[in-house]
């Protein structure tokens, strides 16, 4: 994956493009949760969306995840305008192109780790046998290959989040959306989870992490800062490409 020799010809193929996206909630007073957000994320990026509570990051996440539609503006995922899709089309998009990781894990308590991960493929119409084979592979990737038959109550918080991450990546989505993935974990486990996400990103996954944790954000190559529904900062250190060590750029200097 270390194709650092070609930064100039980097195929900046945007998997996600937001143009002038606003979201208003009617009520008194009306809330402008998002205000004219323009944002582009390329394939292979690892992006943190940072902001305090109420800054609009959850709204942004729902819009990126196609769970909600913007009031104004456009959003395109892999060059497909989300506005043109029906509910069924959006469901299809979510089933194949977007993987979600939640703060509360949201695993099925009664199902084993393997079945939980396999559930991530259920709406792609993949048969059970193949689903489970793919799930096993994904669990191996997150380092839980030895815990296939454990049910969530028997797993630690970090392990549960790994299962959730495996579920998000099992279908090889274009975007992995992680909402406060370390919010319910202690600092040590959080570091492990961040390491895992960085490693998956290095293997090629495009990952967007929503967080209020500045420290976590600081460890990621790109940070988009939200405040009152506006993008107030888009800070890239290092190359535009995934978490590369600063050396190539440093050498260019």
């Amino acid at each position: 994956m270390a194709n650092a020799e070609a930064p100039a010809t980097a195929p900046s193929r945007a998997v996600l493009e937001l143009t002038g996206v606003s979201k208003h909630y009617s009520g008194s007073p009306p809330v402008r949760a998002l205000d004219d957000v323009t944002l582009s994320v390329d394939a292979g990026e690892l992006v943190a969306i940072v902001g305090a509570s109420g800054s609009g990051k959850s709204t942004l996440l729902n819009i990126i995840g196609t769970l909600d539609r913007p009031t104004e503006g456009q959003i395109a995922i892999e060059q497909t305008a989300v506005a043109t899709l029906s509910d069924a089309g959006l469901a299809g998009l979510r089933s194949r192109r977007i993987g979600f990781v939640f703060q509360q894990f949201h695993l099925l308590e009664a199902a084993t780790a393997l079945d939980n991960v396999a559930t991530g493929l259920i709406y792609q119409g993949i048969r059970r046998g193949r689903r489970r084979a793919m799930a096993k592979e994904a669990l191996d990737r997150v380092g839980l290959g030895h815990r296939l038959d454990h049910k969530p109550p028997k797993l630690s918080g970090g392990e549960r989040q790994r299962v959730a991450i495996a579920r998000a990546i099992v279908g090889d989505p274009a975007i992995v959306l992680a909402d406060e993935p370390t919010g319910n974990l202690d600092s040590r486990t959080s570091a492990d989870i961040v390491d895992l996400l960085i490693r998956l990103n290095r293997d090629g996954s495009t990952i967007i992490i929503i967080t209020h944790d500045q420290e976590l954000a600081a460890s990621l190559p790109r940070r988009v800062t939200l405040n009152d529904g506006r993008v107030v900062g888009d800070d890239t250190h290092g190359a535009h490409l995934p978490y590369q060590t600063p050396e190539p750029t440093g050498a260019a200097l």
Partner: protein, 453 residues
């Protein structure tokens, strides 16, 4: 920014096997609740099955009894003439009836103007009649003897009598030991047989039968038939019935009364109908309560599983997938309850029927067209679950249309019922009242259809 307007071929789909597994997953995960909810339905269905089963088994039992007696027995009696006096049947009537093709047997009796006593020293006739008749009356009525024998070609010509069951009782003769005799018009007749009761012919039960020849010879009676009994081909009973009056008395067919004794018994079988309807109504209420129970549980289940619904939406479930999941869940619940209830109701019916010593299906000849009636009718009540599920499914769909609220990412827990914001996509739960009225109406329509099907 380049945007392709066309949607690529990304489709969300759920295999049937997965839909089924997803639909029953909630039930498997909450066994206690599943059981209790199913029991609610089961009791409703069991009571309906038992009510219908017991009453139709009882009716079937009565009908089977009638079938055993035969429904092809017709009875001809004189009616009234224009002046209001009792008409007479022509002497040749039995012979004319016998000439009708489908008539298999016909026998006549003639009521004699004579009383019967235990002996010549009393004139108490006990309300009994004396009938003169022919030996083959016995076969025509399909009679059974309690004692002795019936009249035959010989005994019909000598002073002998056969007693109907009631007549024997009133005369105090219960056995032929000692050669009992009775007195008719002061003349002694030897009793040679006692009949068993004839459910279709209570008048014969109350009669003392002597031969036509003996009646003429010893009592000087004139033999004029007062009743003719005939057996017809079972397929052609109505056809025969229609032409009997004209055959017997072509000039005055309205002076002839034709009846089918089994009709009276059949009518008795219908009398219980009102009570059955009442019980059925009670059963329907129980079923409704069970259905409401399912609806309640499903609403709770949808509300407490909003997280799961949001997760499934995030995993790519379409609205219809979510709706299917909950419909399948409540349908399975109702099916479970329905199966348990049907088994329960059938068991109650069978146990009750055996206790009442009713005829069992296996007691009837296999070709009996009514055999199917006597089994506890497994009323195929459409599972009310899908109906009950309509309501919570509306909620589920409402939830599903409103991902912002249900998405686990939005950590809002405000309000019990899902409320959608803006952009008019929350239409599904616009009127929960309409849901309730709609599903209740549907329920009653289905219930009524199943009852009268």
């Amino acid at each position: 920014m380049t945007i392709t307007p066309l949607a690529p071929k990304w489709r969300s789909k759920l295999l049937a096997a997965d839909a089924l597994a997803t639909g029953t997953q909630g039930l498997r995960g909450r066994k206690g609740r599943t059981f209790m909810t199913a029991i609610g339905i089961a009791i409703g269905i069991a009571s309906m099955v038992a009510v219908i089963g017991i009453s139709s088994s009882s009716k079937a039992d009565l009908i089977a009894e009638i079938d055993k007696l035969g429904t092809n027995l017709l009875q001809i009696q004189p009616g009234n003439d224009l002046a209001g006096n009792t008409a007479k049947l022509p002497v040749e009537a039995p012979a004319m009836v016998r000439r009708i093709g489908p008539v298999e047997q016909a026998s006549s009796v003639s009521r004699l103007n004579a009383g019967v006593q235990r002996n010549q020293y009393t004139d108490d006739s006990n309300g009994l009649d004396v009938y003169a008749t022919e030996p083959h009356l016995f076969d025509t009525l399909d009679g059974q003897l309690d004692e002795g024998r019936f009249l035959d070609a010989q005994t019909a010509t000598v002073p002998t009598v056969v007693l109907g069951s009631v007549a024997a009782e009133r005369l105090g003769i219960d056995a032929l030991v000692g050669g009992p005799v009775v007195s008719i018009a002061g003349r002694r007749f030897a009793v040679i047989g006692i009949l068993e009761a004839l459910p279709l012919n209570p008048d014969i039960d109350r009669a003392v039968l002597i031969g036509n020849t003996a009646a003429e010879r010893y009592l000087g009676a004139e033999i004029v038939p007062t009743a003719i009994y005939l057996r017809t081909n079972p397929e052609l009973v109505e056809d025969v019935r229609r032409i009997l009056a004209r055959t017997v008395k072509p000039a005055d067919p309205n002076e002839v009364m034709v009846s089918r004794p089994s009709d009276a018994l059949e009518a008795r079988a219908q009398v219980d109908q009102n009570l059955q309807n009442l019980l059925l109504g009670l059963g329907a209420v129980a079923l409704l309560v069970g259905g409401v129970g399912i609806a309640n549980v499903m609403i709770i289940s949808v509300l407490e599983r909003r997280g799961e619904i949001g997760l499934r939406r995030a995993l790519g479930a379409k609205r219809t997938h979510i709706a299917t999941q909950f419909i399948l869940e409540s349908a399975s619940l109702a099916t479970l309850g329905g199966v348990i209830g049907t088994a329960l109701g059938a068991t109650v019916t069978v146990v009750y029927a055996r206790q009442q010593d009713w005829l069992q299906p296996e007691d009837l000849p296999p070709e009996s067209p009514r055999r199917s009636h006597s089994a506890p009718s497994p009323v195929s009540i459409p599972p009310p679950g899908p109906l009950a599920s309509t309501l919570p499914t509306q909620y589920a769909r409402a939830d599903a249309t409103c991902p912002r609220r249900t998405c686990p990412m939005s950590r809002r827990q405000d309000g019990l019922l899902p409320r959608c914001s803006g952009n008019g996509r929350g239409r599904a739960h616009g009127s929960p009242l309409a849901c309730v009225i709609g599903s209740t109406t549907l329920f009653w329509i289905r219930a009524a259809m199943s009852l009268y099907a």
